[in-house]
């Protein structure tokens, strides 16, 4: 196993991790502030990607498309919050799961109805298609590095937003005592809509950026959603710091596992067997990781509320 390959895969893992962070931060904020479990978060990822693909095709500019995608995802998020989600805050988790599962069905089938089952075409902008030479000598796609950069920027932005601004203060207050900030005159309904739309916008941003790497299609948000769940369970639900840590951990472990486990098994198995066992184990790796962490810390690594 060469060092170059290792570094390359490590960066791939980081890239997956930053994407997961964009998804997980929204999920964990919504849970932390409103106590809501939102399965439909993956739908905003899809909406962001579709809006970006359509807007990019219409305007010819990826960056215009990206802005449009994020705005559309935020708008759809706000709308969904106003129509459906706000009726669910005081409901048991079972109701929240079912209602947001219903939203997934509506979004997925609605999108399939409008745009068909075949994927839309979206590619990274011309200016970002080049390669960068890494310290080890490997050439790495610039666009993937840009994704990591955006993820880090968002993480810093979120940190500043939450720790330094008035809105952030309200979000933190909302996490620790919902009734009290309502009593102190904060417009809770508006705060909730805002937080939810922000989460949707982050998911849309992730979907748009990954959509340019993979494909923009119905159901693209679901695998990411479930990984994001694993991330926030590992990190501790409600904790942004936990989401960041968990996302990077899951991204790196998953990516490295898929590459290096089959190679590891090739040392004492036939190549075809090693590929099968390695792939199967690699697919389970992050779930095993989650189980081990939960066995010791049932509330995750950075549990927000005690």
């Amino acid at each position: 196993m060469s060092v170059t390959l290792f570094i390359e895969q490590l960066i791939n893992g980081l890239q997956l991790g930053t994407m997961l962070f964009l998804m997980a931060s929204g999920l964990t904020l919504v849970f932390g502030v409103m106590g809501l479990i939102n399965l439909a978060h993956g739908s905003f990822y899809m909406v962001g990607a579709y809006a970006t693909a359509l807007a990019t095709a219409a305007t010819g500019s990826f960056f215009t498309g990206l802005v449009a995608g994020v705005l559309v995802a935020a708008a759809v998020g706000a709308l969904v919050e106003l129509i459906v989600i706000r009726r669910l805050y005081h409901r048991p988790h079972l109701d929240q799961v079912l209602a947001t599962f219903a939203l997934i069905l509506i979004f997925s089938e609605g999108t399939r109805w409008l745009f068909g089952s075949s994927p839309l075409w979206l590619s990274p902008p011309q200016s970002l298609t080049g390669f960068v030479t890494l310290p080890g000598g490997a050439r790495y796609p610039l666009y993937r590095l840009v994704i990591i950069g955006v993820g880090i920027a968002v993480a810093i932005g979120l940190y500043l937003l939450i720790s330094r601004t008035r809105l952030g203060m309200r979000i933190r207050a909302g996490e620790s005592d919902r009734e009290m900030i309502g009593a102190l005159g904060v417009n809770i309904a508006r705060l909730y809509t805002l937080v939810f739309a922000m989460g949707a916008a982050l998911a849309g941003l992730a979907g748009a950026m990954v959509g340019a790497l993979q494909s923009v299609q119905v159901g693209m948000g679901e695998p990411v959603l479930i990984l994001a769940f694993v991330v926030i369970v590992i990190g501790g639900i409600g904790s942004i710091k936990g989401a960041l840590f968990g996302a990077v951990l899951v991204g790196v472990v998953d990516t490295l596992g898929r590459v290096f486990l089959p190679a590891l098994f090739r040392n004492f198995m036939s190549p075809s067997e090693a590929a099968g066992v390695g792939a199967a184990l690699a697919a389970m790796l992050i779930y095993i990781l989650m189980a081990v962490i939960l066995a010791f810390k049932p509330k995750g690594l950075f549990a927000a509320n005690g």
């Binding site: 849970f31 479990i37 459906v84 009726r87 988790h93 079972l94 109701d95 799961v97 079912l98 209602a99 599962f101 219903a102 939203l103 997934i104 069905l105 509506i106 997925s108 089938e109 609605g110 399939r112 109805w113 679901e222 479930i226 769940f229 694993v230 926030i232 369970v233 639900i237 590929a275 099968g276 792939a279 199967a280 690699a282 697919a283 389970m284 779930y287 095993i288 989650m290 189980a291 939960l294 066995a295 049932p298 509330k299 995750g300």
Partner: protein, 347 residues
Amino acid sequence: MDKLKTGIIAPPGLPAMPARWFDRKGLVQIGLLALLLLAPLAAYLLGHIYYINLASRITVIAMAAVGLNLAIGYGGMVSFGHAAYFGLGGYVAGISAYHAFDFTPFMSWPVAIPGSDSMLVIWLAAILLCGLLALAIGAISLRTTGVYFIMITLAFAQMMYYFANSWPSYGGEDGLPIYLRNTLPLVDTNQPLVFFLICFAGLLLSMAITSRLMKSRFGAALTMARLNDTRLATAGISPYPIRLMAFVISAMITGLAGALYADLNGFISPTMLSWHFSGELMVIVILGGVGRLYGPLAGAILFVMMETLLGGLTEYWKLFLGLMLLCVVLFAKHGVMGWLAGRERNE
């Protein structure tokens, strides 16, 4: 030991009166069972095999939902991963039939285990393996509560899904066909009506077990664990083993349904393990009426009929399923059984 029976704790949810079959609720329940039994008999007499298989599908899915209902409805454990047990049951049937068909052993070391095409063997294996899996998953998941529990059960089911997807020996993501339906002594399981009756017996049995269980001391403890586990602990009963036991039994019922489902379709694939199926199973339990003995049956009839009728009209039937589900969750909390048969005493 007999504190529960002597009524120091009066657990809500246990019927104080003997159940009557002739009141509104009783009539609806008898009606649902009769409908499920008579429709395929009529179809048999008219020679419509398709409808017999449709009834088998309803029955098997209802049985899987009966299992989930024990966890969600009676135990208050919102498992979002019951597809894991349904799929495992299915894979037991499929893999066993595959080795029996090929005359290859399933395992030759450390002990030789041949494949088998006997349903009795398969059912036993499915129940045992699902119980073991649920014991492991439950032991970890039940240390947590609320949203954590939902997500962890989901994540474990996904683990099974990805494992089945990437394990190449049994078809991977393409799945595995069951060329010959597994057999039972004395009867011909290839007859659709016979197979339906087997499934129907399974459904009745699982409902009887649930009912019997919930009337027992164990059921009283489980109800209390759902409503107030501190109070249960104060009565000297630890909630954790009670919940774990209920979770395991719930998984066993769903797993047995999975084994039947595999034989019904003659095919297994990772789809049986997918989180969509976990979600749909939950939808069936909720549509029918959560925590009610006949709720899963009502939900399964409604779900499969919608799938068949709407699915025949439009490719996008799940859009309408989603809209309906949203309305049920937001506005009609008691499900079909609440609407047909009136609310339960403790609601």
